[in-house]
Amino acid sequence: MSASLDKGVNVLKEMIDAPIASYFNSCVHCGLCAEACLFYTETGDPKYTPIHKLEPLRRIYTQEYTLLGKLAKMVGLSKPVTDDELEEWQELVYNSCTLCARCSLVCPVGNDLVYMIRKFREGMAVSGHAPEGLIGATTRAVEIGSPMGIRLPAVQAQMKHVQEDTGIEIPLDREGAEYMVLLSSMEIINFPEYLGAIAKIMKQAGKTWTLCSTAFEATNSGIQIGVGDIAKVLVNRIVEGAERLKVKTVISPECGHAYTALRWDGANLVGRPFSFEVLHILEVLDGFREQGLLKTEGFEEARVTFHDPCQLVRRGGVMEQPRSLLNMVAKDFVEMDDPAKYNWCCGGGGGVSANEDAEELRLQAFQVKKRQLEKTGAETLVTACANCRIVMEEGLEHYQLDIPVVGLTETLAEHLVEAED
């Protein structure tokens, strides 16, 4: 066994806990998880069956933690996990899984497969079997501060641009502000409108907020690649920034995995509960709506539908807020079939969109989303995750569907009642 494989297998042994043991012991090979996975349903290839993606981990479990498994190993009757096998599994674990968790939702014996895949990725990464693109993103995130290589000056340039566009000052490192706003690199690079929207909304709501120069990045590639130590470093930056600036709430942007990483994994990574609140921007906005601080006028003329980012809704629990908010500015809002927590993944989350090898598969898997969209007859697709947005735009472009994709925060900001200056 090479040093890397050894380390990888050891990491996997550490990852296994009672829930995982219970899950492996409950699986009855019914195959229903495949019927929920877009990579299977759109390709018909059984190798994409979610539980099959975990086969090496299962064997490590039985060989390490069950009496019969250990006995079998001792007498040479068990099949060890090899480097070649993990190499073969890289596609299954990283290209054909976005951590969307529809499988975890439908398994009749209750298995949380995504929980297992996330842990499996830890071993894969340590054994050297994670995709090139993700390794690059993670390295950049640690060394530069952003997986896409954005440094503070780029953020400041965007701040300046947004200030010009909106006429509102963008605060940086303002101590004692109520909210610390995080951005995802995607927004900094591709969607400067998001920061502008935040500025306008915060102004109307009369809330104090700030960006943080040492912690402007929300996304956590450590989680996606599956290296807990790196994920911890990235979260710690945010914790340090939030505590230094003494903010009450940290706002996670329109990005699915960033929310999961910070809101749900964060405290567990750093080993202590947070001293500040973490909210997704939509939770914040919905809170404003309930308090009457969000005043909008006018409605979208087109029929709109909403794509539920998996990490926000099914895995994040922010289900009703997007709907309450969208209903403020849309009169003809049609839900997709399989809405809310049952919605289908855009196909690009969990590191898949950063993985060039996965592009063809991703576009094939997109057909489920395309069908959902066509059924609604919607003319505009609204969502709340910058990655979903681009993945879906690419998918729509590929299938020649002329439907614009827009962000929810941005859409709300467009309908804000103009303040008298």
């Binding site: 296994i16 806990d17 009672a18 829930p19 995982i20 043991a21 219970s22 899950y23 012991n25 409950s26 699986c27 009855v28 090979h29 019914c30 195959g31 229903l32 495949a34 019927e35 929920a36 349903t41 018909g44 059984p46 190798k47 069956t49 539980i51 099959h52 933690y65 069950t66 009496l67 019969l68 975890s104 939702l105 439908v106 398994c107 009749p108 014996v109 209750g110 298995n111 949380d112 929980y115 809101r263 749900w264 964060g266 405290a267 567990n268 080993g271 202590r272 509960p273 947070f274 609140e277 973490v278 099914r314 895995r315 994040g316 629990g317 289900m319 079939d337 399989d338 927590k341 049952y342």
Partner: protein, 219 residues
């Protein structure tokens, strides 16, 4: 060994061994699993009514939207044979008598003709799920020797029981002995195969539901 001796062995030492292996094996396996422990979730929880491990134990018995039509036999066949098996085991008069002799509890039985019908339907459902396992690409792909073995180990008690009651195939004494032996085989392998889902399915549903309830998602 003649059939009487076989039957006596099956009813006596055989049953003792099988039940002991079943109970001790189950205990051992549960400890093996639970002792691995679970880290506490330090993130701030959400509280949503209807979301908890217990709710999920119940809720997962219902097919999620859209899934039934994707794999009807999995759900329908699965339900029919599970319910059928439970009805046969717990509501057939002779079984209730056996349970009474072991632990002193008893309850009303279902009419034997109804149990006959349920048995036939259960056997049919089991054949149906086997055919589906062989037919459906995903099931076939996933299936190993264990899946077919456990199917047989579950099918045999039902079949031999029916044949015994109906005095078919072999003399009653032999058939009964085979039936009891097949049940003993089932008991002995249950803790060490996927049949253990009898216990772990509820644990898994609970773990899953509990973890998601923390986030305010009812699964």
């Amino acid at each position: 060994m003649n059939e009487i001796a076989l039957l006596n062995w099956a009813r006596g030492p055989g049953l003792d061994i099988a039940v002991a292996v079943f109970l001790l094996g189950t205990l051992w396996r549960l400890i093996e699993i639970i002792s691995l422990g679970r880290k506490k979730d330090l993130s701030a929880p959400r509280h949503k009514p209807g979301a908890s491990g217990w709710h999920t134990i119940a809720r997962r018995s219902v097919a999620p939207p859209g899934m039934l039509k994707r794999s009807p036999i999995s759900y329908i066949g699965g339900y029919v044979f599970h319910v059928g098996l439970a009805l046969i085991v717990f509501f057939y008069a002779q079984h209730i008598k056996l349970i009474e002799s072991l632990i002193g509890l008893s309850w009303p039985a279902l009419p034997s003709q109804l149990i006959d019908l349920v048995t036939v339907i259960t056997l049919a459902a089991m054949v149906l799920v086997l055919v589906d396992r062989i037919n459906k690409p995903v099931k076939r792909y996933l299936s190993t020797f264990e899946d077919y073995f456990t199917w047989a180990v579950t099918f045999l008690p039902i079949l031999t029981g029916y044949l015994a009651v109906k005095h078919l195939l072999l003399p009653y004494t032999t058939m009964l002995a085979l039936h009891i032996l097949s049940v003993e085989l089932l008991l002995v392998v249950l803790p060490f195969t996927k049949l253990f889902h009898v216990f772990t399915a509820f644990m898994s549903r609970w773990y899953n539901g509990n973890a998601n309830a923390h986030k305010g998602v009812s699964v």
